[in-house]
Amino acid sequence: MRQINTEQIRDTVEKLCIDANYNLGDDLITSLRSALEREESPLGKEVITQLLDNAEIGRKEQVPVCQDTGFAIIFIELGQEVVLTGGDLREAINEGIRRGYKNGLLRKSIVKNPIDRINTGDNTPAVIHTDIVPGDKLKITFDAKGGGCENMSRSAMLTPAQGREGVINFVVDTVKSAGANPCPPIIVGVGLGGTFDYSTLLAKKAILRPVGSNNNNKTIANLEIELLEKINRLGIGPQGLGGRITALAVQVETFPCHIASLPVAVNIECHSHRTKTIVI
């Protein structure tokens, strides 16, 4: 059994928060550059150029690329041959978030209770998803999930009869209704199958794939390609000001589902896609 001290996890989480919020990933930058070449609207091109300039400022000056530094979403893949020492895993993660948001001068955007709405003051707690996997490694993924795009996400329980066409209509309609709100060009994460709750988790996991990567399953990859084409025919464009590039990518993750069900969830991610992963 390999031992990992939770203090190391805490310090890793702190680093991830800051790194993700200051330095956008190369996959996203490549995708934005390609979007700039394909965009036909002059105003759309101007917007994408500003986003690339903004990313450069974040990197050079080590400042947050967006003021909404997000809800801290943590995905843990814990190897089953790992023994955690040094204290509570959840507390270590939340302490990492606390330090990252304080030391990185990130915005504190979490309220204690959805009704009273008093700010927790340190951006905790994180939403933590933990998977036990084979091996002796610990993989930590951080995503700073902005409120604007999360608010435009939706899920539905379709009938099997609605099928592929029903899925396409629901996803495209979700993006259409969202319009300029979620900061297009967006990344569209789709979860298909599982249960009501599991489809939404799949949608979030779909966002975390490298931007523009297709599903390994050919049927699903074709669905992704068709969805992207249909979404980019909507004309919403960068920031909703009109244009060809409404979405940078559509990424679908699937899971088996009940003979009676066709769960579909759409998790929208803004162009300010801030995620980083470290394997310990």
């Binding site: 400042v63 530094t69 700010n119 409120g147 604007g148 319009g179 900061c183 025919r233 909703g240």
Partner: protein, 186 residues
């Protein structure tokens, strides 16, 4: 290609009425900030007959909750938040003389009506370009609701703050115009 209209706050009705959906502007002068929690309090103050922390007449309201400033910065990153969440509150402020709001995303029918009736415009700033936008903010002072942190009301002095007119006083809507122009039916 790019031509900008320079705007200096406070703004008069005649200036506002000349703006058209799609116009690119550079704003200089004062912007006040408020988002969800601050709006709730402002409207409660109005309902209970109290004076607001600032006079909205002729002013622009920027929907933003910035990140904390680094040492040497006047403000952290400061891009727009989604505007529709303020739709419940905006008509009241527009009726009181607010000349415009700055955010991102579409507005409700009620807000569009109020803008036409009381002469106000809605500007979009580029969402997610928060580090870039922050460079146009030269001075910041918290003037109310400090306990709200990022949501406190700030008075900002800006120079050449970049924005684009989405909704004008005549009913022009850039989101509709842009979408119609580029949509490809299938």
């Amino acid at each position: 290609m790019t031509e900008y209209i320079d705007l200096e706050t406070p703004l008069s009705d005649s200036t506002i009425e000349k703006l058209k959906a799609g116009d690119k502007v550079r704003i200089s002068g004062v912007l006040y900030t408020a988002r969800d929690a601050a709006h709730k309090r402002l409207i409660e103050m109005i309902e209970s007959g109290k004076d607001l922390p600032f006079d909205v007449k002729g002013q622009l309201l920027y929907y933003v909750g910035p990140t904390p400033a680094k040492p040497g910065q006047v403000i952290g990153s400061a891009g727009p938040t989604t505007s529709y969440r303020m739709d419940t509150y905006a008509p009241t402020l527009i009726k009181m003389g607010l000349k415009g709001t700055i955010g991102k995303g579409g507005r409700s029918k009620e807000v569009l009506e109020a803008m036409k009736r009381y002469k106000a415009v809605y500007f979009a700033a580029v969402g997610g370009a928060a580090a870039l936008i922050a460079k146009t903010i030269k001075k910041v002072e918290i003037i109310a609701f400090e306990d709200l942190g990022a949501e406190a009301i700030r008075k900002m002095e800006v120079e050449n703050f970049p924005a684009i007119v989405v909704n004008d006083t005549k009913g022009g809507d850039l989101y509709n115009i842009g979408r119609e122009k580029y949509k490809i039916p299938y």
